[in-house]
């Protein structure tokens, strides 16, 4: 499957991936409106972790054996065996935060407004993840994983 790979040696902690992730998951899809009118309602599904000069972006790894799917009591989290993508259905999510607790990379965030989990969906709507498309230093790339 396609995976987003972070090249930490070129991540420069600008956090534009977070900015564009938020916009990509907004209603308006407009930078200024998303931040002005929707912030608080939505959260980016990618987080840049930093220690000193080193930083990199963390988002759902779409694990082969996802702990979040195991832990999800409502079946909101699901791994598509055909594509390998781990998907999240907010309609079924009850906000118990078990997935947040068990995710080994800390990639799932809480969308407090809707009281549901928020995680990377690889920008299925547009095809190209917004974080990859907008990383100014090509520190986020898509790589095909043939496992």
């Amino acid at each position: 499957m396609k995976r987003i790979v972070a090249k930490e040696e070129y991540c420069m902690n600008c956090r534009l991936c977070e900015v564009y992730c938020l916009v990509s998951h907004s209603r308006s899809k407009d930078l200024i409106k998303a931040f002005r009118q929707e912030r608080g309602e939505i959260v980016p599904r990618i987080t840049v972790e930093r220690l000193g000069p080193v930083s990199f972006a963390v988002q759902c790894r779409h694990c082969d054996e996802p702990a979040c799917v195991e832990a999800c009591m409502t079946g909101a989290l699901h791994r598509d065996p055909a594509t390998g993508e781990v998907t999240h259905d907010p309609q079924r999510c009850v906000g118990c935060w078990m997935c947040v607790m068990v995710c080994p990379t800390g990639a799932i965030r809480r969308d407090r407004n809707g009281h549901v989990a928020a995680k990377c969906d690889l920008c299925l709507e547009t095809g190209t993840p917004a974080c990859v498309a907008n990383c100014p230093n090509e520190a986020l790339v898509i790589e095909e994983d043939n496992d």
Partner: protein, 505 residues
């Protein structure tokens, strides 16, 4: 502390309608101009330390930032300009030498702009480079006085003359000497990779060649400078050619100083000096006080490299450049590189950068003339450097007599440099002239090499177009072909030194 009198050089304008408080500017400015105030949820700024590098404005996702030059409004005066007044304030506060970086920014005239190129009309055909072959391959090194041939039984010829070692360039453009230390590891790697990909050469500068870069050796010219940093037999062997650095256009007559705080583990290995120690290049080579001494070093390097590599000598363009170049050729150099007064640097005293040396246009013309008059022009290739901004400058330099050019500033601009001229602070926001690990990662060498190759491709294409227009299909036919140049707005004396006719003649 008494009140500082130096005023901010730039205005930072933030459009509150557009700013989304994403703080990209806060995280990207190494000069701490931007800050986030959580209490008011506002990004604020302190313009005093803005250097005008445009990093924040470039990365701002909503284009909310505009950085404008803000010359402090002193009373209008043509002599005591705001730059002059600010400089005096700075020195009155610190008692130090004014520092600058990159090339001379005061020169109001570029003689390249006063030289125009020819094109074919009616009486000779121009050539379309997209339809017909156009040769840019350039060979650097000593050429024989005459070529002798042997013929076998069937009359087939073979070369009897032993040729001197040559550098083969796919285009007459190389990257200037910029040391690892002055520029970052990633900037250095970008240059080395691009040189390899395009079939030209990058220059290690005087700071040695890290072992990681040895695979790029076939496309590297390595320098032996007055500090002898990183020089050993392996360094000489791994490179394609060796250059003795005598001087640099931005600061003729003075040495260099890489501050100890930039000398980390990797630079220490590369320069062969202890971590944290200042790397000081003396002004002269302490073993070169004459042309004869230079000859000894040239031949030491030739012996060390088994006469298999061209030896270059780089000098700054100064008043007696033609006589000096003649001496260098007679001392046995295969390549003479001449750096004009607009050449760049990572750090130079401002007064020296702006006032010492002569323009490359005159130096190049004088050197080419002198070597021809003495009948030794074939014994060495001439490489011009110092402020080449475009392919047109390159074509004019080759027609004036250069075999090839070095580009430094243009290459850095391709890598993202915005010419803020603050390389010496070590805070380069573009990750080029810095060793701060938070900043160096901003230059991804894959992107850097791609952009440099694009620049070389674009310029080479334009050179072919200009040559085609003149009806020339090989760069060899353009070299020293001053009939294809005409001067405008130049005095008779300037025209005669440049060896070109006035427009209309």
């Amino acid at each position: 502390m008494s009140k500082r009198l130096v005023q901010a050089e730039f205005n930072v304008e933030r459009d509150p309608e557009r700013c989304i408080q994403c703080q990209v500017c806060v995280r990207q400015c190494s000069n701490q101009v931007h800050a986030y105030d959580a209490e008011s949820d506002q990004v604020t700024c302190d313009e005093a330390s803005c250097v005008g590098c445009q990093r924040c404005a470039t990365l701002c996702p909503t284009n909310a930032l505009t950085i404008k030059k803000a010359p402090p409004e002193f009373a209008p005066d043509n002599n005591w300009t705001s730059d002059v007044i600010q400089n005096i304030y700075r020195q009155a506060e610190t008692g130090g030498v004014l520092l600058s970086a990159m090339g001379n920014d005061t020169a109001k005239v570029s003689w390249w702009d006063n030289i125009l190129l020819n094109a074919s009309q009616v009486t000779n055909p121009s050539i379309d480079p997209l339809r017909e072959p156009m040769e840019l391959t350039t060979f650097l090194g000593a050429k024989p006085n005459a070529v002798e041939l042997n013929f076998d039984d069937q009359g087939g010829p073979s070369l009897a003359t032993k040729l001197a070692p040559q550098l083969v360039l796919s285009t007459p453009i190389m990257f200037s000497a910029m040391s690892y230390g002055a520029i970052s590891y990633n900037a250095f790697e970008s240059l080395a990779r691009a040189a390899g990909q395009y079939g030209t050469f990058a220059n290690s500068g005087e700071g040695g060649l890290h072992k990681d870069f040895w695979p790029h050796g076939p496309n590297m010219i390595v320098q032996v400078a007055s500090g002898r940093f990183g020089v050993d037999i392996d360094y000489l062997k791994v490179a394609a050619a060796v250059e003795i650095k005598i001087g640099q256009g931005a600061k003729p007559g003075i040495g260099g100083h890489l501050p100890g705080e930039k000398v980390d583990e990797r630079i220490s290995q590369t320069r062969m000096i202890p971590v944290g120690s200042d790397a000081i290049s003396p002004a002269p080579h302490h073993d070169i006080y004459s042309i004869e001494d230079l000859r000894q070093l040239i031949y030491s390097l030739k012996e060390a490299t088994r006469y298999q590599k061209p030896i270059s000598v780089k000098i700054a363009a100064v008043h007696n450049v033609a006589a000096i170049a003649s001496g260098i050729v007679r001392a046995g150099a295969d390549i003479v590189a001449i750096d004009g007064y607009k050449g760049g640097t990572g750090a130079a005293p401002t007064m020296i950068r702006n006032n010492v040396g002569i323009p490359i246009e005159f130096a190049l013309a004088a050197v080419d003339d002198r070597l021809r008059q003495e009948g030794i022009r074939n014994q060495a290739s001439v490489v011009a450097c110092g402020g080449f901004r475009s392919s047109a400058d390159v074509v004019k330099a080759i027609a004036l007599g250069a075999d090839a050019v070095y580009i430094g500033t243009a290459a850095l601009v391709a890598l993202g440099c915005h010419l803020c001229q603050k390389c010496y602070t070590g805070k380069c926001n573009w990750g080029i002239a810095t060793q701060d690990p938070y900043l160096t990662r901003r230059l991804n060498p894959e992107i850097g090499a791609r952009r440099l190759v694009n620049l070389l491709r674009g310029w080479s294409h334009e050179i072919k177009e200009m040559m085609g227009g003149m009806g020339i299909n090989a760069i060899e036919s353009l070299r020293g072909n001053r009939e294809h140049l005409r001067g405008v707005g130049l005095s008779d004396r300037e025209l005669s030194i440049l060896g070109i006719k006035a427009a209309g003649e």
